[in-house]
Amino acid sequence: MSHRWGMAVDLDRCTGCSACVVACQAENNIPTVGEEAARRGRTMHWIRIERYYEGEFPNLRVKFQPVLCQQCDNAPCEPVCPTYASYHTAEGLNGQVYNRCIGTRYCANACPYTVRTFNFFNPVWDKPLDLQLNPDVSIRQVGMMEKCTFCVQRIKATEIQAEAEGRELTEGEPTPACVQSCAPKAITFGDLNDPESEVSRLARSRRGTKLLDELGTQPKITYLQRDSWDDKNS
């Protein structure tokens, strides 16, 4: 049975600590752009923590929401690409072939989640910071669009290992860097084709919602909304 990778993010566990943001940067060779480019909104993070205030001082509630590529089943970014750089992989990921990308940025325009980032310049790592680069992930050059891959290199590595050992992947074996780093275990990753997997179970939760569901993009990330406390639920 083929896999269909999905994610569940429990906003009741997420504390907004940003460990996932740095984990992603380290794993995927995401460059820093510097103050001026950041001011122009050109930071390259593939995952960001959105913060929403509800209410007014002092009756204030905050929601943190990590937002990354939703790996939509019906992805608006894919059909608009003139060079087929954005495509749908066999395992349901919204892939991006860097070598095909010619930088039209149509996909970024089409994406309602603004999770695609564009290389306005060649990335720079002041030596010897280049030694930190992960050789498993290619470096994207000027004019290329890039995005979250669900750490496809980590998924592939576990798949190859399991195949070499002649066995099926086990639950929790492939873990994207953001999932690995999350201390309160807010992010769960797994196979949506397996109805018994933790991620499938969470996707069925009564707190489960999809981001901008009304657009019909069919995201593969389920957000479990924050709960509130009352005397009865404990």
Partner: protein, 754 residues
């Protein structure tokens, strides 16, 4: 063109390109023979430990082969070597259980930082000018030996001082043995993020001057006064793991979390109820809660666990701590206090904690004692779901200075630090992280001889006569004994995970070398040849004293410890002293005092520990500079947080440059309108405003320490860093404010797109 011609041309141009590149010196580097074995392209994971903050998390480091430019025997060249690529938590480590925070993961960039000091340096310009030139190790060490001998001949060895940052385990042991051998006083510790007030309170209440650990995973109710325990405080990773379990780890049972503070922290943003109280009245609120809990328990004829004294409740039942009285001073509604007390009594285990700005008022000790008492009243001291202390094994000397006379900051405050003839600095940057009133820079200018082991030229090491760069943590032997965050004794130990890149030397071995050259008692104090040998000796001692460990073969055990990244002592479980009647002593409320009069300086100024930079010690890392702040989403700078109503009154808009003035100085920073801050409080993150800290961290933002007064926490002598008042005025232009939320095109148009 014929295929053959094309190939010829290709060969020709290729050859020319090679020849041309030979002229560039960079291409003429020698190639060293690899010093280690590895399979190309195959990652290995090696245990190490995180030294970014005192939480002491265990790490696994991903190592892959690569080509690096290094220095070997004074010569620069290329080598194939194992390189650290990513830092993750060590799943076997009981503190962080496989997880690592943002700052810990970014610690990788310390090793590869382009501005690391790569060779020993000697000052050639004026003190503090930052003009240095490279010298050899031998020359540098001889110079130190000559100086120390000279001081010794004048019998002034008691004026040799060693100031470190937080340093635990055998490194501290080694430094103190060195000083003892020299006849110098023990090392002073400078850790701006430490909680000396909480230590003092725990010493008074529990006989242990240590930071607490919490069993949140089994708590049903958490009330926190000011501590950013999910972000930066104490052992944030361990606490975040427990928090996740408290919220969703037990089906059908979601614990409640209440946060009391004046400025909503990243932790406070997760609370079910977020409550601002008047600054410095947190302890009174805790006593008000304790009073109501006691009344509630008396009504139900319950007693806290471990209490047998019939009159235990007596001191708390007085009218002084009744909700209506407490409301008058704290500004928190009496009905809320009564409701929380009832909820806590209904949903045990409930636990309280305090930290951060709440302890940085002049009455911080009172507040800490009050929260300890609240925990006693709740019966949550040393019980599941409550507060406890991580045991230190009696077997190994937990070399950590906890007494006041080794605290550098309190010595500075009491004027006890003067006239050092020779000063050693290791992992401490007091010039940056102390208020201007302490005149740290002037003190260093007057010190005749300064040696720094810093890997970077920062505000403090810039004053040094000699900089002897330490290996990066990944290049070093490391050991640590975490103080909190786990219920069993744990010792973390790690060998270097990669070979050094630059002409640096490990601090412990440099100290041993100096001792050896000095000879006599100093040499005898440090009988080991390497730091590894010293670590091995201390672990051999540990193994001998563990009767349960039947492993006879120490070499085998040693390898096993290194493979796991440490040693857990499951037999050494937590325990607490028996509760006694005196532990229900009610601390007496004393009102906080503030620096600056209310008319001229109408706002309370609250610096807070930055989620990205802590106290500023990781502000040089580009990943941290470009990490959006959890609440403001700001990057690459400093800002001042203002309540929307206050901002409206003063006509301040988001991004306006404003001037904050205290009796001690002025800062200019852009404003961030924050709905989660009290009307009369202005908050600013610590960590930026470095004058000297590499290309990414220098001359960026502002340092709130620069405008703090020297108020002390009463009876502790610690710096009360939240006890300064300020005023605010507009400069009349926009400041440098970079926000992740909202692009440039939206700014100033009252829109926020993402």
């Amino acid at each position: 063109m014929e295929r053959r011609d094309f190939l010829k041309l290709g060969v020709l141009t290729g050859a020319t390109a090679t020849l041309a590149s030979c002229e560039k010196p960079a291409q003429q580097l020698v190639r060293f023979i690899p010093e280690e074995d590895f399979v190309p392209g195959i990652a290995t994971w090696k245990p190490s430990l995180c030294t970014v903050c005192p939480a002491g998390c265990g790490m696994m480091v991903r190592i892959l082969d690569g080509e690096a430019e290094v220095v070997r025997n004074g010569q620069r060249g290329l080598i194939k070597m194992g390189l650290a690529k990513k830092l993750e938590g060590n799943p076997k480590h009981p503190v962080n259980r496989g997880k690592l925070c943002a700052r810990g993961q970014a610690g990788l960039q310390i090793t590869y930082h382009p501005d690391r000091v790569r060779t020993p340096l000697r000052r050639s310009g004026q003190r503090g000018s930052g003009v240095f030139h490279a010298i050899g190790w031998d020359e540098a060490l001889s110079e130190i030996v000559v100086k120390l001998q000279e001081v010794r001949s004048r019998q002034r060895t008691n004026s040799i001082r060693f100031v470190t940052g937080w340093v635990r385990g055998q490194r501290r042991e080694l430094i103190n043995k060195f000083l003892e051998g020299l006849g110098a006083p023990r090392a002073l510790e400078f850790e701006p993020l430490d909680e000396p007030v909480l230590r003092r309170a725990n010493l008074l209440d529990f006989g242990r001057p240590v930071l607490p650990s919490f069993d949140f995973a089994r708590s049903n109710y958490v009330i926190c006064f000011g501590a950013d325990f999910l972000g930066t405080w104490n052992s944030p990773v361990a606490q975040s793991i427990g928090y996740g379990e408290m919220r969703r780890g037990r089906p059908g049972n979601r614990g409640k979390f209440v946060q009391v503070e004046q400025r909503m922290s990243q932790t406070g943003a997760n609370a079910d109820e977020w409550v601002p109280c008047s600054p410095g009245t947190e302890g009174l609120l805790a006593l008000g809660l304790a009073h109501s809990v006691v009344m509630e328990k008396l009504r139900r004829s319950e007693q806290p666990a471990g209490v047998h004294n019939r009159d235990w409740a007596e001191p708390l039942t007085t009218e002084t701590y009744s909700p209506t009285e407490v409301e008058k001073k704290t500004g928190v509604r009496a009905s809320s206090i009564e409701r929380w007390a009832r909820e806590m009594a209904d949903h045990p285990p409930a636990v309280a904690l305090i930290g951060g700005a709440a302890l940085a008022h002049t009455n911080g000790l009172f507040s800490a004692l009050a929260v300890n008492l609240l925990n006693r009243t709740l019966g949550s001291v040393g019980t599941p779901g409550g507060v406890f202390f991580t045991p230190g094994s009696p077997a190994i000397k937990v070399a950590r200075s906890l007494s006041q006379n080794s605290d550098f900051l309190s010595q500075l405050l009491s004027g006890g630090f003067e006239n050092a003839e020779a000063l050693f600095l290791y992992k401490a940057n007091p010039v940056f992280a102390t208020p201007p009133g302490l005149r740290m820079g002037e003190k260093l200018t007057r010190t005749p001889f300064i040696v720094s082991f810093s890997s970077f030229i920062d505000e403090t090491s810039v004053f040094a006569d000699l900089i002897l760069p330490d290996h990066s943590p990944l290049e070093s032997w490391l050991d640590d004994v975490p103080e909190s965050g786990t219920s069993e004794a744990v010792f973390t130990l790690a060998r270097p995970v990669m070979r050094p890149l630059h002409d640096t030397r490990a601090m412990p071995e440099v100290v041993m070398d100096i001792a050896n050259r000095l000879g006599g008692e100093v040499r005898e104090a440090l009988p080991w040849k390497t730091f590894e040998e010293m670590l091995q000796a201390s672990y051999a001692q540990l193994a001998r004293s563990q009767p349960c460990n039947s492993t006879q073969d120490f070499d085998k055990l040693w390898e096993q410890i290194l493979e796991q990244g440490g040693w857990r002592d499951g037999n050494c479980q937590l325990h607490l002293p028996e509760a006694s009647a005196s532990q229900f002593r009610v601390p007496e409320f004393s009102a906080p005092t503030f620096d600056g009069n209310e008319q001229e300086f109408p706002f309370y100024f609250q610096p807070y520990v930055s989620g990205a930079f802590l106290d500023g010690s990781v502000a040089h890392l580009p990943w941290m500079q470009e990490l959006p702040d959890a609440l403001s989403t700001a990057m690459w700078g400093t800002w001042l947080e203002v309540n929307p109503k206050t901002a409206e009154k003063l006509q301040v808009r988001q991004g306006d440059l404003i001037r904050v003035r205290s009796p001690h100085g002025t800062l200019e920073v852009p404003a961030v309108i924050n709905p989660g801050i009290a009307f009369d409080v202005l908050a600013m993150p610590m960590g930026q405003g470095h004058e000297n800290f590499g290309r990414y961290g220098s001359l960026r933002g502002a340092n709130p320490m620069r405008i703090l007064g020297l108020s002390e926490v009463r009876e502790v002598g610690a710096l009360a860093w939240a006890a300064t008042r300020v005023n605010l005025s507009k400069v009349g232009q926009k400041g440098r404010l970079v926000l992740a939320a909202g692009a440039l095109s939206e700014q100033g148009r009252d829109l926020e797109l993402r």
